[in-house]
């Protein structure tokens, strides 16, 4: 392997760890493009590589800083594209979970390899060695389970005094009286702290494919710990809380796939919000927070998205947007639907990895 090819291969792998789907075909295409365009400057090299590996606007934004960091380090020069960017000091350490091959941990995945529910959504991004070799991500199910997710409290309503006197807690008074053998004190109702309910609208569309495994693991742990209702949506809205409540992640995953037939489909956010407001209004209220766990790409009609989110906002305490890409360098809210959601939500949190998800949850408490 000559040095150029080696460096390009290394660059391809770097891109892959950051979510680009770079395959052998793309590397061959790059070699042909380099022979044709014969780039002589960094800018020309950038302009030659970029159309061959970039597939979306988001990747286009990420490509510049990555290119500058990689080739800047390689050549020992500071490239223009990196100025002011967070990548100037070198490549960010690769997140080991981005190379994750299956949805589940090593121990679970080995048992499940034959079942249809084992989704290899990262398989296209993992190399042959990663897929078949011994190098696998650590078994981190235990780590997720130990994640401390704080409850979100609210104070119970104030009990007004009645005209005839204070509001008695009759059951408590009787209970205490029976314990002590005689009625020596009358107990009154007190305001207590109760847990807020949270409804999560979980986007399982194709654009979220790369992080859906991580979100599955997070939500699987969250529903066991806290008062949460999870509704998954892609082209249709499905209640998946009972499925996620399965103690075994394998069963939960199988059940999820059986319940939600539209995973990895298009995104119909407006439709999902409308149905949530109309059909699941019993879960909504001023003591309920609604979390939109989506990247904000809407593939359906966005004309009434604004009105739908406003309607949702009126019916619940807070609407929070957990955006998986918000912490990515160079990310901005470009899409129309993204801008609409941003305008109407109370809070936006980045939710691109476990740490961010935990912080995003705890900040609501």
């Amino acid at each position: 392997m000559n040095p150029t090819l080696y460096n390009l291969w290394l660059f391809g792998r770097t891109l892959r760890t950051h979510g680009f789907s770079v395959g052998i075909d793309d590397m061959q295409r790059i070699m042909i493009a380099l022979n044709l365009a014969e780039p002589r400057t960094w800018k020309e090299l950038y302009e030659t590589l970029q159309p061959c590996v970039v597939r979306s606007h988001m990747e286009q934004k990420l490509f510049g800083p990555l290119f500058a960091a990689f080739f800047g380090l390689l050549a020992g020069v500071e490239l223009d594209e990196a100025k002011g960017g967070p990548w100037l000091l070198g490549l960010a350490p690769a997140d080991p979970r981005t190379q994750q091959v299956t949805w589940l941990s090593l121990s679970s995945a080995s048992r499940l390899v034959e079942t249809p529910a084992t989704v290899f959504s990262h398989a296209g991004r993992a190399s042959q060695e990663e897929r078949h070799g011994k190098l696998r991500p650590p078994d981190d199910i235990g780590q997720y389970a130990a994640m401390n997710l704080l409850p979100h409290w609210f104070r119970s309503p104030r009990r007004k005094r009645t005209l005839r006197g204070p509001y008695w807690d009759i059951s408590k008074t009787l209970r205490k009286g029976l314990e002590q053998g005689e009625l020596i004190r009358i107990w009154h109702r007190r305001r207590t702290m109760r847990e807020r309910r949270t409804v999560i609208l979980w986007d399982t569309s194709r654009s979220m494919e790369s992080i859906t495994p991580m979100l599955f693991n997070f939500l699987h742990n969250l529903v066991k710990q806290r008062q949460v209702k999870v509704l998954s949506f892609s082209t249709q809205l499905t209640v998946v809380t009972p499925q996620l409540l399965n103690s075994s992640p394998e069963y939960a995953l199988n059940a999820l796939y059986e319940a939600a037939q539209d995973i990895h489909g298009g995104t119909r956010l407006q439709n999902a919000v409308d149905i949530a407001v109309r059909k699941y209004s019993r879960w909504l209220g001023q003591r309920t927070d609604v979390i939109l766990l989506t990247d904000g790409f809407e593939s359906g009609d966005i004309k009434t998205l604004s009105a739908s989110i406003k309607a949702l906002r009126r019916r619940c305490g807070r609407v929070v947007w957990w955006n998986p890409w918000a912490s990515r360098p160079g990310y901005s809210y470009d899409t129309h639907s993204g801008q609409v959601i941003k305008r109407h939500v109370d809070l936006i949190c980045s939710a691109g990895n476990f740490g961010e998800l935990r912080d995003a949850w705890n900040v609501l408490g």
Partner: protein, 310 residues
């Protein structure tokens, strides 16, 4: 496609001669697309010059442009080929009047190229002259089934008509696909293309475009127009104005013989730039100080003097 370009800068020069001011990234992508026979997938906001690029390239390489406008529900028949049923019927009746009965020969005649109506994709694969430039416009409007159908066409430049057989392009056409990103196009289709994002141009490039198209417009007026459009793009609008809107506005100002931008002239012609009632309302709504948002923007960028409020 056989083109005379030797290096990416040749594309830049040719496009400039057609009145299209591209940057080097775009010219490199067009050059690679032509030389590698790979379609170029252009994505960007409406009005940034995706369709105009295909037109300009076709003119630059002196090839015909074949355009396939995608829409929801577009199918194989509308895009590829259809049989000319009235003509086939007439042919059968004529054959009957000459005493010919229905036979295998007659059936073969009916399903021959004579009765085939070539739609844009077939026209591009089986052109009458040199290979054309094929523009598949707004692919994001079409359905998933149509995208899947395009996979065969774009990877092999070959189509299969059951009655005739496979037809392969002798010379690959130069293909441009455009998308306004109203939905994500499938990865499989993108893999077969080179990708280029067309964003809004910088102030200097947009000024050069306006000056080239509206040559009678004074330099100061063109600068004011472009500066205002660039500033409007920073506002949270439903639809930020594209280059097409800037050019329309420049033409409108030319027709109205406006010599200098004022708050009145901007308000009168605001419909050329903003296409949503809510956006116009937002700009014309009065704030707490009595001035509209538009007035504040005009003051901020120095078109309206702050010491002489309107």
């Amino acid at each position: 496609m056989q083109v005379s370009w030797e290096k990416p800068s040749d594309v830049l020069v040719d496009l400039r001669s057609q009145g299209y001011l591209a940057d080097t990234a775009l010219s490199t992508a067009v050059y690679l697309s032509a030389k590698m026979n790979v379609p170029l997938f252009l994505e960007g906001e409406p009005g940034v010059g995706k369709t105009a690029l295909a037109l300009s390239v076709a003119n630059a390489v002196h090839r015909p442009l074949i355009r396939l406008q995608c829409y929801e529900g577009i199918d194989r028949e509308s895009a590829l080929y259809d049989w000319n049923y009235p003509r086939q019927l007439m042919h059968v009746r004529l054959a009957e009047s000459f005493g010919r009965s229905a036979s295998a020969d007659l059936e073969d005649e009916l399903y021959s190229e004579r009765f085939l109506i070539a739609r844009p994709l077939l026209q591009a694969i089986m052109p009458k002259g040199p290979a054309p430039v094929l523009l598949i416009d707004e692919i994001d409007r079409s359905d998933d089934e149509f995208e899947a159908f395009l996979l065969e066409v774009l990877s092999e430049f070959q189509v299969t008509i059951p009655e005739i057989g496979s037809i392969r392009a002798k010379e690959s056409p130069l293909v441009f696909l455009t998308s306004n990103r109203t939905r994500e196009v499938h990865e499989a289709l993108k893999r077969r293309c080179l990708y280029q994002w067309l964003g809004y141009p910088s102030f200097e490039r947009e000024l050069a475009i306006v000056s080239q198209v509206s040559q009678t417009l004074s330099g100061t007026l063109a600068q004011s127009l472009v500066r205002l459009v660039q500033r409007l793009r920073q506002e949270p609008l439903h639809k930020a104005p594209g280059v097409a809107e800037t050019l329309n506005w420049a033409r409108a100002v030319e027709i109205l013989s406006t010599t200098r931008l004022s708050i009145d002239s901007v308000e009168e012609t605001l419909g050329c730039v903003l296409k949503y009632h809510e956006d116009i309302e937002r700009l014309l709504a009065s704030g707490t100080d009595g001035a509209t948002k538009l007035q504040r923007i005009l003051t901020e960028i120095g078109i309206v003097d702050e010491s002489h409020p309107v």
